[in-house]
């Protein structure tokens, strides 16, 4: 999808009554194939790319009941993540703030 100059990538989409995800290999795969490493790939994309998009979950759009479970769980969780994309970075950059600021500025 094109919005002005920014290309929005759809990482979760529903097509032909099945859930799909954008895999780390760059291809869309059915959602029942998703494992923890692919989930990690999605988390990284969601937190680092501004163009992260998902098809909204509608129960009636998906026929496969296993796809429903997985898609809904992932969709709900990622919706909350997108509302605060910087949460992991913010929390980890609180480590050693004093030393970091002190020596980084001296170094400069």
């Amino acid at each position: 999808m094109r919005k002005g100059e920014v290309i929005f990538m759809k990482y979760l989409k529903i097509e032909q009554t099945k859930g799909h995800f954008m895999s780390s290999g760059g291809a869309y795969l059915e959602i029942d194939k998703i494992d923890k490493d692919e989930l990690m790939h999605l988390v990284n994309e969601a937190t680092e790319n501004d163009e992260f998009e998902m098809d909204e979950y509608q129960e009636s759009d998906i026929g496969n009941p296993a796809h429903k479970i997985i898609y809904k769980n992932i969709y709900d969780k990622f919706i909350s993540l997108l509302q605060n994309k910087t949460r992991f970075k913010d929390e980890s950059s609180q480590l050693y703030t004093r030393s970091f600021e002190q020596y980084r500025s001296e170094e400069v």
Binding site: K33, N73, F88
Partner: protein, 671 residues
Amino acid sequence: MKKIDLHIHTISTISDATFIFSLEKLKEYIEAQNIDAIAITNHNMFNLSQFQEIDEALDIKVFPGIEINLECGHLLLISDNTDLESFSQKCNQVEAKIISAEDSINISEMNEIFHTLNNYLLIPHYDKKPSLKQEKIDELSSYINAGEVTSVKKFIYHSKKNESLVPVIFSDSRLTDEISNFPTRQTYIDLQEITFSGVKSCLNDKNKVALSYEGGNNFFQATSDGLQLSTGLNIILGERSSGKTFTLDKICKDNDNVKYIKQFSLLQNDEEKFNEQLATEESRVTENYLKNFKEVVEKVVDIDISEYSRQVDGYITSLLKFASESERADIYSKTALFNESKYETSNLISLKKLIEATTLLLENEEYKTTINTYIQEENLKLLIIDLINKIRTKQEIILKEQWLNDLIDNTKRALHTRSAQTNIDDIDLYQIALGHKKVNKFNEVVNFLKTEKEIHRKDIGKFKIIAETKKYTGAQELKNKSRSKMSFSTAFQNYDSPYKFLEELKNISQLEATDYYKYFIDIQYKILNSYGYQVSGGERSEFNLLHEIKDALKHDILLIDEPESSFDNQFLKSEVNKLIKELSKEIPIILVTHNNTVGASIQPDYVVHTQREINGQTVSYDLFSGYPSDKELKNSNGEGINNYLMIMNCLEAGSETYEKRRSDIYEILKD
């Protein structure tokens, strides 16, 4: 000679416990102790109107002063009386800067406030807490010559040591209506008339300060009612009930940090009690030896191997069932997440330690030059930034993993409830393997620890203290160790399998987890005499005395009441006398004795004779003192008694008996 006390508090500040100053008590104190000059030195403040009130009420010289929290130590700053208004304003500036008792000002701030420090008398806490650091004293060396100490022992130590400041000792008192014993801590200065410049010049010269009026540093005031004693070895003699112990008690009450070895306290014939006392005294050795093992136990105590076995059994059963039920596979069980394991999140310990170590290298001032000879500071800064970036990246991954574990868990649970197929249990095999490794290592460590060996040896006089590790040989010994009624019989059955033994200790509900480490190996102490044998009952008392006397060096005064109550003469003469004489070079000793071996052969520096006076219903004690070579000992009223007769009466049951014994018995024996 003039007697001065330049450290007196009259106002309760944030740095003091609450007290209500009594001007009347201050007057009594000055009169009773014959003090010629004082300074009012409250914490970080100067109250001009109160100072003027005190100054008017007293006939002696009163100097204005302030005790300043300086560079985390304390310093007395004392002024002359010429411009009190200006001094008061300066002190107000100090007061404004000290908001809490922990605050302090630095040297440049003090300089800014008081300008010409040369005009004042500066006396830091020296051998006294909180002391001003040596580097700060060096910085102020043009203005500081004297330093405050807390005891006679420390005063003598610094007066003999060339590089030390001129020691002074002051009361640091807070005089209230409740005070009954006045402090004995004052300093004599060699001065005809008290003036500010005169006091200042005396405090520049060790030869012009002293602990006593006439005797220099060889004497000090031991009690608030004026008893002067030698800073070396003093002997108190007197008949029964003549006030010897009373005098010791009074000295003990009027001085700080006193070691008091009371009469008969060393008689210790009960072997078990003796061993117990010894073990307590040596608990430092035990704690030290088992310190690392304690940490090992803490790391193993939460590992539950039987729970691990249950988890592995459950995992294998579910795995086999999942395989056998392949025909029941459905759309839920065929999803990748159905049997997905969770992320096992790593920890950041090694990175944290590296960052701490690099910070230490960067922030250490003492060895900065050495460190930078090998590692340039620039590189250390680059390193620490790099390490912090690494730990932050790793932390970010951990947070993501935790977040995803939550998602995986919820999804799996939803899939499992709908599927007809058994799901495979998710277990943390890494943690289980690590737990087993730790338990194996623990067993190895304990078996090594159980090798019986000597772990500590110390000589005290002719005795040797030896600490040895010993395996427990029965449940009763464990019970004794716990000093409780808990039963250790089941636990002891597993004593040879350390981990199982630990599991059994955990089953004893009243046993504190922090004490488990004590039950794997016992540490026993024994005292051997010079022949290498276990000590006898009498030798145990001897050992106790030597031990106690050695311990006295941590104190400022040593009081011993009748050591002969516990010992034979040979020991007193050969060991105790020698040790006491040696020790009296370091610390004032006051010894009460009846025994001629101690009394006559120890060659004291000073002798006090006590006499009881009964006037109707009231009993008072009179003290006569002098050098051992004096013909007469004198009391505070100048009355004298014959020294020789007194010694004969106290030590030899009178001169007649002594002469008779000498001629009738000793001479016969000699022939």
